[in-house]
Point group: C2
Chain length 159, copies 2
DNA sequence: AAAAGTAACTTCAAAAATAGAAGTTAGTCA
DNA sequence: TGACTAACTTCTATTTTTGAAGTTACTTTT
């Protein structure tokens, strides 16, 4: 299966990952949430090549995750901003951050999140949308839609 | 900057992404959370090449995200299971799922999460660890540690 | 008026990663 | 004995990424 074909799966995880689940895209999104807006800042702050940055920004714009906006006509200059679709990727970035903070360092986190609501340093957690209780892997059971089950049993038999 | 060097950044997002932020690793983790345990099932259900699957499983084992365990001595057969480090990646997978469900499909989600605590279909949300209120991108302010600020202003000047 | 600088890119060759097909190992089953 | 199975490994072709250099359309400095 080629990379592109991942997005043809019916699973929304596969689709999401096919579009925005690569390392440099996630680094771009980190920068977006740190208020970076300009090409050369993305370039220097992520350390990626300009070629790839250009490609990724175009892809994200096409997808509707970010939009490109002129902030000067002469000389022509552009900046990149999140759309709602882009802002909704925040939980993905935060999830990576929490995991990294927990498992990959003993130091203080390099970024702390201050919750505007209560003014405290927050380490956001997942909670159940229905009852509001905190939720972890073992608190949930995955229930597969019939179509997805079928897709999977076909795939299993292919070997 | 080569890919590997991402993990030398002090930012835990960069580190996390360098280790587990690629498409196939995330697909492997999806399968882990769907209770897949065996090589050929990962192979067929993700659609990745066996070469890459083998590499990724080794990397994840070395990192401590999964462990490899014999379930038969003769013939020698192995299965893969999550460690606590691996289970803690659940929020990453769920975050991708929620985003995909919201932005990439109009159909019913292919997977529904049933919360064991309340027995309802749940779409987990982030909440503040301090006050328990739901949290989104605009509810937080990022506060950078001095060392990270310094790292970043050096990087900015490199252009 | 010419030269240097700047932001936002594009181009290109070399290196690295991935895909897909085929092969291997250590067995069991008919 | 021959087919089958799970869990891989090996190989070459293709695709992606890197890193350096170049381009465009201006503004600022000398």
């Amino acid at each position: 299966m080629s990379r592109a074909n991942l997005s043809s799966q019916s699973c929304s995880i596969a689709r999401a990952v096919a579009l925005v689940g690569d390392q440099w895209t996630i680094m771009i999104m980190r920068e977006m949430f740190l208020a970076t807006r300009r090409f050369d800042d993305f370039l220097n702050l992520t350390g990626m090549s300009s070629h790839l940055l250009s490609q990724r920004l175009k892809k994200l714009e096409t997808l509707g995750v970010i939009r490109r906006q002129a902030y000067s006509q002469r000389p022509p200059r552009y900046e990149y901003r999140l759309t709602q679709m882009g802002r909704d990727l925040w939980p993905v970035i935060i999830a990576f951050k929490q995991w990294g903070d927990r498992w990959l360092t003993d130091d203080e986190p390099s970024v702390q999140l201050i919750h505007k609501g209560c003014d405290a340093a927050s380490t956001p957690r997942l909670m159940c949308s229905q009852c509001g209780e905190p939720m972890e892997a073992h608190d949930a059971v995955a229930q597969l839609a019939p179509a997805f089950e079928q897709e999977r049993s076909k795939l299993r038999k292919q070997s």
